[in-house]
Structures are given as C-alpha cells and as structure tokens.
C-alpha cells in the first residue's frame, strides 16, 4: 500500500507558500461551495477554477491522474447506472436498455463535482506536509484529543503496515493461500495479533510519554503560524469565488433553471 503523502510537499509555489490555516479555510470553503452546485451552467466555471488552482500549485499532472484513477474507477462503476435508470427522455435505445437524457446530465453533474472537489482536496493535502495541516486544524480550534490521536495514529500506521506485510509474507512462506475454509480463522488471528501487538506497544508508548511529562502541561503554546497580508488576500479572494458559486447557484435556481 503506498502511503506516500508528502511526495511533493517540498515544492515551491504560491500554494505551497500559503499560510496553512488560511489555505485550509479557503480550499475547504471552495469544496463545499462546489458541493452546493446543481446547475449545469456552472460546471465550466468549476472546472476552470479547479484547473487554475492545480496549475498554480505546480503539482505534476501525473500525480493528479494517479490519485484520481482508483476512486474515479469506483465512482464510475456506481454512477454508470444513472443514464440508464434515471429520467424519462430517452436519447438512444441499445437493445433493452434506454439511455436517458436526465440521467446523462445527472452523471455529468456529479462527475464534474467529483473531480473538482477531489482535485481541490489533493491540492490541499499535497502542497504541505500532512503533519502541518493537522497542526493548522489544531490552531483553528479542533480539540487536542482528536489532533493528538491523529498525529500518533499517523506515526504508527507505517510501522504496523510493515508488520502486517511481514506477517503475511511469513504466512505465505508456510503455505497459506487463503482458499481453505479455515482461512477465515487464520486471517482473524492475523487481525487479532496486530491488535494485540499494537495494544501492548501502546502501553510502552504511554510509559515513554509520561516519562517525558505527558499530561503535565495544561495548555499548549500556540503553534507558530504567521499570517502575512498576502495570505489573507488570497484567502479573501478564494472565499469570494466560493461565495460567487453559491450566489450564482441560488440565483439560477430562483430563475427556474
């Protein structure tokens, strides 16, 4: 499993340099604005905004395509039914199946929204190390228990993942192929072993934590985020764009679009 998150977070671009909290608020607002859109006429604007953001981020296109491939595939597998099931205006008959106009348009809508929101999300998490984004969330008020849990979990995912691979290899070397009816029990023991080992490790980690004072400090000093005027300008600009989409959608709906 490729857990590579921070491959391109060291590049330099306006998005990379944007202060993390401003970037977080701006891009999340944009993603929600996109999810609000239902009018097809706004789709081209969505794509333009998304493409611009991606271009400014200087992330390679291959990165985007690699990350969109699997989720895109699953999305299509489900959504491909829409043109055949939804709507009344038949465009084309293929044997017993009827391709319907409303369904096609619905598919187009959710497909564009899907790609836009995902791309924005990829930019959000691809342009700065994951840990810093979590700290930005903490800086914006997310409870410390949650951010601590996220950071500690993130730390150990790779190790535990490696353990799983080692154990699976060992099982394979002893002839396990998973086809035997008793395999489920073996896999359950595998899962159980991972849980037990992690539990036992967590007891040692807890001891290491209290030895270095965990729980001793009532408040944590604020993380070092410095907002420059440019950051706020960019934030405002993106928030305006997001508001623009929402306003446009509302207006278009009112006009009976």
């Amino acid at each position: 499993m490729n857990l590579q998150l921070d491959e391109y977070s060291h590049l330099d671009s306006p998005l990379h340099r944007w202060e993390p909290r401003c970037r977080l608020i701006a891009l999340v607002a944009l993603m929600f604005a996109f999810s609000f859109v239902r009018d097809l006429r706004l789709l081209p604007a969505m794509l333009v905004v998304t493409a611009t953001i991606y271009a400014v981020s200087r992330l390679p296109l291959s990165f985007l395509l690699a990350r969109l491939r699997a989720p895109g595939f699953f999305f299509l597998m489900v959504a491909v039914l829409l043109p055949f099931l939804s709507g009344r205006t038949v465009l084309l008959r293929i044997g017993p199946l009827a391709l319907r106009e409303e369904g096609c348009l619905a598919l187009l809508l959710i497909a564009v929204k899907f790609v836009s929101i995902l791309t924005t999300g990829i930019v959000l998490f691809g342009t700065v190390p994951f840990v810093i984004t979590i700290k930005a969330m903490r800086g914006l008020g997310l409870p410390t228990i949650l951010t601590d849990m996220t950071l500690f979990s993130y730390r150990y995912i790779h190790e535990i993942g490696d353990d799983l691979e080692t154990m699976e290899t060992a099982m394979g070397l002893r002839g396990f192929r998973g086809r035997h009816p008793g395999s489920l029990g073996v896999l359950a023991s595998l899962a159980g072993s991972i849980l037990v080992r992690s539990y036992e490790q967590s007891e040692r980690v807890y001891k290491a934590m209290i030895l270095r004072g965990y729980g001793n400090r009532p408040t944590r000093p604020a993380d070092d985020f410095q907002t420059l005027p440019g950051d706020v300008v960019a934030l405002s600009a993106v928030l305006l764009i997001a508001a623009g989409f929402i306003a446009a959608e509302i207006i278009l709906r009112q006009c009976g679009g």
Partner: protein
C-alpha cells in the same frame, strides 16, 4: 460503502458534519469521564492505526476478495473511542487514497461510527449472560459485526438513493434500497463471522482489550499494574 464527494447535496454534507460533531463531542465527554483519559489516548491511537491497517487484510471470497469494514469490531474493542477512531480512520482513507470523501467525511463518519457505538452496546450485553463464556462472546461478536455493517449499509443506501439527482419515483427508490440491502446480507454475515472470530481470539489472548472494566473505562489502568517486564 463510503460515499464519495460530489454526489450528496451540500445540505446533507453539512448535516453529516453536524451529526459527527455532536457524536464526537459526546464520545469525548464520555472518554473524559474515565479515571485517566490521557492514558486512553496512546492506546486508542495505536489501535486506530492497527484497525486502519487490519482493514487492508484481503478476505478471499471466491472468485474475488473483499476488504472488511470492521466498524462492529471497533465498537466492541474500543467502546466510545470507536467514534473518533472511525472518524480519524476515514480521514486517513480520504486523504491518502481518496477513498470516501472530504466533504462527505461527516456523513461517512456518522454512518459508520454511530452503528459502531450501537455495536459496542450490543456487545456489552454479553455481560448479562456471562462475559467469560466463549459461546456468548462469539454470538455477541457476530451480532456486533453484522449489526454494525448492516446499519451502515442501510443508512448509506438510503442516503444515496434519496439524494442522487435522479428522477426516480418513491416505488423504485424503495425497491432499490431493499434489493441492494439484500445483496449485502452475505457481506454482513461475513463481517459477523470475522468479528466473532477476532473477538474470540482476543478473549483467549488478551481479554482486557475487550471493553474490560467499567463501561466508562474500556481500558484497564497501566500505572502500578501490568506491562513492562
């Protein structure tokens, strides 16, 4: 089963976040009521990571293989920590693999996390019948696993079918929900069996992992007691 971005209306997404926010707040409150909430954090964190990794295990189901959701098992093992654990696990999935969604994180977390809490309470019922009995533990493990997945599937399907911008009538909607739910019954059975097997394994090897102790303190204390060597 994870709902991707772009399908649900914004109102539902925000409603999902509101629900998840409330459930998280409630779970954290329950967690803080324990004797030593700080101690639970490394345990819950490592177990969150372990569950995240465990869900990668391929379960061969000829001709293919599936990944299990394990939200019922999470509930049985972590108790109230299961909700933040699921939230964090889904967050990782969305960010690392683009599986699920970021706007739909609230909805997905509520959809999988609330049934996990239900599964926790379901599993705890075994105490009334004999916590040390393997039969009851296995049975309630099965119920927790199957139930956890089942409720999630129902919510997920209902959401998708009622909010997809399609023009289906109520009849078709209801029929599709029934049909697709039925298709998931074998999966529910599989999750139930797997959960029961893991729970029995844990009962044999490390019973304190299973919501041992009081309901408010799912993990027994470390200080002055066990561990080390």
């Amino acid at each position: 089963m994870h709902i991707p971005d772009g399908i649900l209306p914004a109102a539902v997404c925000l409603g999902g976040y509101a629900t998840t926010g409330a459930a998280t707040w409630y779970s954290l409150r329950k967690i803080n009521q324990q004797e030593n909430p700080r101690e639970g954090i490394p345990k819950a964190s490592l177990l969150t990571a372990a569950f995240f990794v465990a869900s990668w295990i391929h379960i061969p189901v000829p001709p293919t293989s599936v990944h299990l959701v394990l939200n019922g098992l999470l509930g049985a093992v972590l108790g109230y920590y299961a909700f933040p654990a699921i939230l964090i696990g889904l967050f990782f999935q969305a960010v690392m693999f683009q599986h699920g969604g970021l706007t739909t994180l609230g909805v997905n977390a509520a959809m999988m996390g609330l049934p996990a809490l239900v599964a926790y309470h379901l599993f705890r019922l075994r105490r009334a019948l004999g916590k040390d009995s393997r039969a009851w533990t296995g049975l309630f493990g099965f119920l927790a696993g199957a139930g956890g997945l089942g409720i999630s599937v129902l919510i997920s399907l209902a959401l998708l079918i009622t909010t997809i911008p399609a023009h289906l009538d109520v009849e078709t909607e209801r029929a599709s929900i029934y049909a697709m739910s039925l298709a998931h019954v074998p999966l529910m059975a599989l999750e139930g069996v797997f959960t029961a097997l893991v729970v029995l394994f844990l009962q044999r090897v490390k019973p304190e992992l299973l919501e041992g102790g009081s309901p408010l303190s799912p993990f027994p204390p470390t200080l002055g007691g066990q561990g080390g060597g």
